[in-house]
């Protein structure tokens, strides 16, 4: 047995792999993008193996959209030690399979045990593998490619020798690949197996002649003809396997084609423009391998590996994403937008590993060692080797810790309090929505029975609200700007459609949106998550719809994947037994020469490699310099302004303070004090989207800079234009701080008494339905006006509502439009243009906007009738009155005044509902204006609102015929509760406006209190 000599490299590699990855994965895998999604799927299989329908996400979806093997394996292992045990075990299995896979793959490419051993060791620290496992967490992808690499030698054997056992083994492994990851075998076929077939034919052709030079096209064609039967047999069988093993997947793909609007992914970016994507999807996966590109190309384009050379080049190009237009053209629009292109880079770098192994072998042990030592001397050679090794391992360590330095996920959330909350008092009978959870939302879903409208597997989405938007998840919709928030708003505005009652907020960014769409805070869980609730949502029905699939598909899905593993293991065990009784003989499968012929062109290669190394060093230096320049921002006035706002945006106030002019005598303590008293939409709930700095009247040492900034807030996009004075001091530019408002509030100590409300809910502690005596009467509200109006081609319902009851009300207003045949055209709720919580006798205007999209076939329809339904429930919170509009003065188009806060709560985000009236003092329009900064107790906040030349909308209908309150006709309420309504306070105090299409306006105030006392 000769193998023992070389196996030590492999054993070293496997042990190193287990130690390196095995210890680090406990700190990384849970924070990756994908691992928890696979965990969620695994939990599904662990609880219902044969049922492909999961209600947990997207109001129900089928798990047949992803090959099940890895998930099922984790699921089975979870029965032993829990889900995470299963995940780590499979990850460890992936590590071992990957290292051994690279070993076996190398042996096909370069039949040298030592080279293969070196390649295996390199595979352990390969940065692309580290990234795929520790940053992306793509377990199925890793298992898939590893098994595919194991299959390659068997395919080679079958094609070369025609041994049937090799064919069976190859097919069995291919089946395992197919059932673990669908994309790997399909593209693997093109990028790994096709070149392998080419190589086999090349070898076969080589055997017929005496030297490489004699392999002509005709010799190659002849060899191809000889092998054609085997190739076709293998091709046909593997096609059957790819289709057959995951047949339900293909059926599902055909029945539910992906209608998702493309969701942006970093791997499709232009890496030169978006450097962060370039780093993650190009620089890191290639890492040190990039330095050896000339060597790889030289070796790949040698005659034997020619086909792998083509494949490698193609993969390399596809991996560059949107940097060049080639990937888009090669893949087509559709595939380009669905696939994530990072996988091509992964495969390309895996394909390069054997050659890297070979290089390392030659460099440390082989011919290069001799050549280089002769050229450079032993010390330089060793030092270079050492440097390369350190750089290679450094790259791996850097990659593994990337998640630590640039966190892509929120901090780990303790899910137990949320799980407990959902289990309590049947809370899981409603849907919930996590916000700001990152990929950990999958971990929550895996632990609870409750279902959510969100989800983390985009291809499975079916709700048009989700598929029509390029939003990754609702949970992180703020990263998709206004479009993302628009999608979230749809769910928050019409939660009854989805039985959505609870929102778990881990990001206070979304809180104002929740407040203004009528949600209220319930409690703060002990893990710091705020629970928001919407009143009056009906629970989920006990039977939910699902797309059922025939029994045979369920059985196939449940049985085949594991069977493929069992069959493979049996086949390998069988052949091991078989071989162990026979005398081992080392048989070369093909002629491999490492004689003088390989030395051809070495001189060229050396020259090019040195040049390339120089290029790489220059590029790396540019990168380092770029990082340095980015750090020293005070070199120009523009960059100091940008950096200042960047620091403010990320709440790094110490850094922001370092850009403040030192002579301004604003020390950090004063600066922080000023920061701590600013609050509001702009300073606490905005995310900077873009900034443009222009410099005006520049001279030697002072500059005026105008910063135009676009902010994304949960409620609207804000554009601010700030003018800053910049001053130069000792070569660096600084910002001269602005003066703070010197206004002093009148009173030091304030007294306030008022009414607060409390509702027990259930008085008796029982999980039975709430008792009759504990059910409160729904408050009686009255719609006083309602109009259906049209503006451009959009329809609205505008009106006003008064709480005529003696108890506070929480209202939800639904509007519906009907055509001439009384068929419903559209239905929506009032979003933020209404006050959702009303004190007794309080009045609010409301506006419902209908976004009707007309397809070409459907004619443009003007609705002829409308309906308003108001649902009122008892409100106990968010009723506090904070701001008083003061000294309001309408000066042509400018509405000026200030908000005074006479209360003892800070009005974090004041909202002004501005209603417009025609000359008859009839309400025709309402809009919401948010004041960007908060109003603290007893302080003033001046505002100035530009009154637009709002054209009068067309009033299509104006009546209260189809208005109902809690299911009762509005008129009956009006007759009973308040038959003698008068005009008090409704018309007398409207503010007159001159020279506008409308004649009067009125202001209703509302405010979000971020930190109630």
């Amino acid at each position: 047995m000769k193998t023992s000599k070389t196996n030590k490299y492999l054993i070293t590699a496997v042990l190193l792999g287990i130690i390196f990855h095995g210890t680090s994965m406990f700190f990384t895998v849970e924070r990756t993008y994908d691992a928890l999604i696979h965990l969620f799927f695994a939990n599904h299989y662990a609880t219902s193996w044969f049922e492909p329908w999961s209600y947990s996400w997207y109001t129900g979806f089928t798990v047949m959209g992803y090959p099940p093997l890895v998930h099922q394996t984790i699921g089975v292992l979870s029965l032993i030690g829990g889900l995470k045990f299963g995940m780590f075990t499979v990850a460890l299995l992936g590590v071992v399979l990957f290292i051994t896979g690279v070993y076996r793959f190398t042996k096909v490419l370069i039949p040298n045990e030592k080279v293969a051993g070196y390649a295996a060791i390199m595979a352990v620290f390969s940065s692309c593998f580290v990234e795929t496992l520790h940053i992306f967490g793509q377990l199925p992808s890793i298992i898939g490619i590893s098994i595919l690499m194991h299959a390659l030698p068997e395919i080679y054997k079958w094609l070369k020798t025609g041994k049937k056992i090799a064919l069976f083994k190859a097919l069995a492994l291919l089946a395992v690949t197919v059932t673990s990851h669908h994309v790997t075998p399909i593209f693997g076929m093109v990028f790994f197996i096709f070149p392998l077939i080419g190589t086999v034919i090349m070898d076969a052709a080589r055997e017929q002649v005496h030297s490489n030079k004699e392999i002509t096209f005709s010799a190659f064609a002849k060899a191809l003809w000889n092998k054609l039967r085997r190739i076709i047999t293998f091709g046909a069988c593997s096609l059957i396997l790819i289709i057959g093993c995951i047949l339900p997947y293909w059926i599902n793909t055909k029945n539910n084609p992906i209608t998702q609007v493309p969701i942006p992914h970093g791997s499709r970016d232009n890496f030169l423009e978006v450097t962060s994507s370039g780093l993650v999807f190009f620089v890191i996966p290639w890492g040190i391998l990039m330095v050896f590109l000339p060597y790889f190309l030289y070796r790949f384009y040698s005659k034997r590996l020619l086909f792998f050379g083509f494949s490698f080049s193609l993969l390399f190009i596809l991996g560059t994403g949107g940097t060049t237009p080639i990937p888009l053209k090669l893949l087509g629009e559709n595939a380009f937008n669905i696939l994530t292109l990072d996988r091509f880079t992964l495969w390309a770098s895996i394909m390069a590993l054997p050659l890297f192994g070979e290089f390392c072998y030659r460099f440390t042990d082989g011919d290069y060692k001799e050549i280089l030592q002769r050229k450079w001397g032993a010390i330089v050679h060793r030092a270079t080797g050492g440097f390369l090794a350190v750089a290679f391992i450094f790259m791996a360590v850097f990659t593994i810790t990337l998640g630590k330095f640039r966190p892509s996920q929120p901090d780990e959330i303790n899910m137990q309090p949320i799980v407990n909350f959902l289990n309590e008092d049947d809370h899981d009978k409603w849907r919930y929505l996590p916000l700001g959870f990152g990929d950990q939302m999958a971990w929550l879903s895996a632990q609870t029975n409750a279902t959510t409208v969100d989800g983390n597997y985009h291809s499975a989405r079916r709700l048009p609200e989700l598929t029509s938007r390029a939003v990754e998840r609702l949970e992180n919709s703020k990263y998709r700007g206004i479009e993302g928030l628009g999608s979230l708003q749809q769910f928050l505005t019409v939660p009854e459609k989805f039985h959505l009652k609870y929102v778990f907020s881990n990001d206070k960014f979304y809180d104002p949106l929740l407040y203004f769409t009528g949600w209220h805070r319930l409690s703060l869980l002990e893990n710091g998550i705020t629970v928001w609730e919407k009143a009056g949502i009906s629970p989920l029905p006990s039977i939910l719809p699902k797309d059922d699939v025939p029994l045979f598909q369920k059985l196939m899905w449940g049985i085949i994947p594991f069977s493929t593993v069992v069959i493979s293991i049996f086949l390998y065990l069988g052949s091991m037994l078989f071989y162990s009784y026979r005398k081992k003989e080392k048989k070369r499968l093909y002629i491999y020469e490492n004689g003088p012929e390989t030395q051809k062109g070495q001189g060229w290669l050396y020259g090019i490699s040195i040049f390339w190394l120089g290029v790489m060093i220059v590029l790396a230096s540019i990168m380092v310099y770029g990082i340095y320049v980015e750090k020293s921002v005070q070199l120009t006035p523009e960059s100091v302004v940008t950096a200042y706002y960047d620091a403010i945006d990320f709440k790094e106030f110490e850094r922001a303070h370092s850009y403040i002019y030192p002579a301004s005598e604003k020390d950090i303590s004063q600066f922080m004090l000023e920061v701590s008293v600013t609050d509001g939409l702009l300073s606490s709930y905005a995310k900077m989207d873009s900034i443009a700095v222009t410099v005006v009247d520049q001279n030697e040492s002072t500059v005026k800079a105008i910063a135009k900034i676009k902010w994304i807030t949960p409620l609207k996009e804000i554009q601010t234009t700030d003018t800053l004075s910049i001053t130069k001091n000792k070569g660096d530019w600084f910002i001269v701080p602005e003066e703070v408002d010197p206004d002093i509030p009148p009173d030091q100590l304030m007294f306030e008494s008022g009414t607060r409300f409390f509702n027990h809910g259930k008085r008796k502690i029982t999980s039975e339905q709430t008792f009759h005596e504990d059910v409160l009467k729904q408050p009686v509200v009255e719609v006083t006006t309602a109009k259906m109006i049209q503006r451009d081609s959009t329809f609205y319902i505008v009106g006003s509502i008064q709480n005529v009851d003696n108890i506070p009300a929480d209202i939800a207003v639904t509007g519906a439009l009907y055509d001439r045949d009384n068929k419903e055209i559209a239905r929506y709720n009032s979003q933020d243009i209404v006050k959702h919580k009303l004190l007794p006798k309080e009045t609010t205007p409301f506006l419902i906007q209908f976004d009707i999209t007309y397809d070409e076939e459907k004619l443009y329809q003007v609705p002829s009738n409308f309906e308003v339904q108001v649902k009122a429930n008892v409100a106990t919170t968010d009723l506090y009155q904070t701001v008083a509009p003061s000294q309001i003065d309408i000066n042509e188009s400018q509405l000026n005044g200030f908000l005074f806060n006479p209360s003892i709560e800070a009005a974090t985000i004041p909202q002004l509902l501005i209603s417009y009236y025609n000359e008859n003092k009839e309400l025709i329009w309402t809009e919401a204006v948010y004041i960007d900064e908060s109003v603290r107790p007893q302080r003033k906040r001046p505002f100035s609102i530009l009154l637009e030349d709002l054209e009068l909308p067309i009033v299509l209908a104006s009546h209260l015929d189809n208005v109902s309150i809690n299911g009762l006709p509005n008129q009956s309420i009006s007759d009973k509760v308040h038959p003698n309504r008068n005009k008090s306070g409704e018309k007398e105090f409207l503010l007159p406006v001159d020279n506008k299409p409308y004649s009067f306006i009125s202001i209703t105030t509302n405010a979000y209190i971020g930190n109630p006392r």
Binding site: P746, D747, N806, P840, K841, A884, I888
Partner: protein, 411 residues
């Protein structure tokens, strides 16, 4: 490998056997004619509901054919088919408790194949000797103290098996309001008794309950809330009447009541609309506590007269209240130095004290407007001759409701 194959074969065999066996089960029962009088049951009579089921014995039967018999029974909760059972040589049908515990008419039919042998019906009566409780419902749970509004009390007494009691059973329905207890006797009709309770004209809590013999209902409560408010008066309270822009004025209502003298519920919203003689508007709100609403506003910074009205939207409003604010200064101190620095102040208030920080001072020069804020009564501005041409200008200064114009020469 071989073992695996044999295992698979073994399981396949078991499955096959199971399938064949289950198919062979479906033997058809042969139909034989049964004489109409071969079977006769002891006709069940009207009886009280029971938890133990009802056993119906056969008067005559034969032991051979009874398996062909089926007893179809329809009760309040649906229909079911029962099979007679031979137990200790006695053939009997057992009507299960799910049927026997609900009162109502039970229809039954004894059939054999397609022929009906016997049919009939009997009543299951509620058990009036074993009563459980009186279920009460009242609604709406809150009503308004006026002549229009009322609530309704419904009593449903039930027996121990939750059956409603027969008509004409007498229930005592009671209510208590402010110490007055009224008891009405009502007869049950269709299982329940009901009563309308007109709203009392004073606010409070109306408590209801019902009794029947030894059993009673739970206590149910109806809140009586006040009716629409009647006009109220407003007053103001403030420490002084100077327009210094830094004092809180409290606008307050008197106790707001409805036409029957009931005080408004706490939390009722009152809005105060304010207009001044410069065409500016104010708005401030307050919710009532014990009928009183206290709203706060900030004194204006210019001498002015406010006209205030308190309003409950669409319902009532107060008469107007006029408030006059006096100016705190007569003239604006002004100085100009170094040909570019303008100093306004020190501004002093009604006692000669410095005005509070943050009083806005408006400068108008050459069509542009500059707003300054006072620090320790003073605000200064330095003109930059790079921005504004050196020349002689008239500047207009406006603060605390006073405007003056001064001429300056910028150099």
């Amino acid at each position: 490998m071989r073992k695996l194959v044999s295992n698979i074969t073994f399981w396949a065999l078991i499955v096959m056997t199971a399938i064949i066996y289950s198919c062979s089960e479906k033997q058809k029962i042969e139909k034989t004619a049964i004489a109409a009088d071969a079977f006769k049951i002891v006709t069940p009579i009207d009886q009280v509901v029971t938890k133990n089921g009802i056993k119906i014995k056969f008067q005559s039967y034969n032991n051979d054919d009874f398996e062909l018999l089926e007893f179809v029974v329809s009760g309040t909760y649906g229909t079911t088919v029962l099979k007679p059972q031979l137990h200790q040589d006695q053939l009997a049908i057992h009507i299960p408790e799910v049927i026997s515990q609900h009162s109502g008419i039970i229809e039954w039919k004894l059939i054999a194949g397609e022929t009906t042998l016997e049919r009939g019906s009997f009543k299951l009566l509620p058990n009036i000797k074993q009563l459980k409780t009186v279920e009460n419902y009242v609604g709406p749970r809150s009503i308004i103290a006026n002549e229009r509004d009322y609530t309704m009390l419904v009593s449903i007494p039930v027996d121990s098996l939750d059956n409603m009691l027969p008509d004409q059973t007498v229930v005592q329905m009671s209510k208590q309001f402010k110490g007055d207890i009224t008891t009405t006797t009502k007869k049950i009709q269709s299982g329940f008794a009901w009563q309308r309770i007109p709203a009392p004209l004073t606010t409070g809590r109306l408590i209801t309950g019902s009794t029947l013999q030894q059993i009673s209902s739970k206590e149910l409560v109806v809140d009586i809330f006040p009716d629409i408010a009647v006009p109220f008066k407003i007053t103001k309270s403030s420490n002084h009447n100077y327009a210094d822009g830094n004092e809180i004025i409290i606008l307050q209502t008197d106790q707001i009541k409805d036409s029957h003298g009931n005080i408004m519920t706490d939390g009722t919203l009152v809005t105060f609309f304010i207009k001044d003689d410069h065409d500016n508007s104010w708005q401030t709100t307050a919710s009532t506590v014990n009928g009183y609403a206290f709203a706060k506003a900030l004194h204006p910074q210019a001498p002015s007269t406010w006209t205030v009205k308190g309003v409950i939207n669409g319902m009532v409003e107060s008469p107007e209240l006029n408030i006059t604010f006096k100016s705190i200064i007569d003239e604006i101190p002004f100085s100009f130095s170094e040909n570019k620095i303008v100093t306004i102040g020190p501004l002093t208030s009604y006692l000669g004290q410095l005005v509070p920080d943050g009083i806005p001072v408006q400068l108008k020069i050459d069509g542009s407007e500059i707003i300054l804020k006072t620090h320790n009564g003073i605000s200064t501005y330095t003109f930059d001759t790079k921005i504004i041409e050196p020349n002689t200008y008239d500047i207009q200064i406006k603060t605390l409701g006073i405007t003056t114009t001064k001429s300056i020469e910028l150099k």
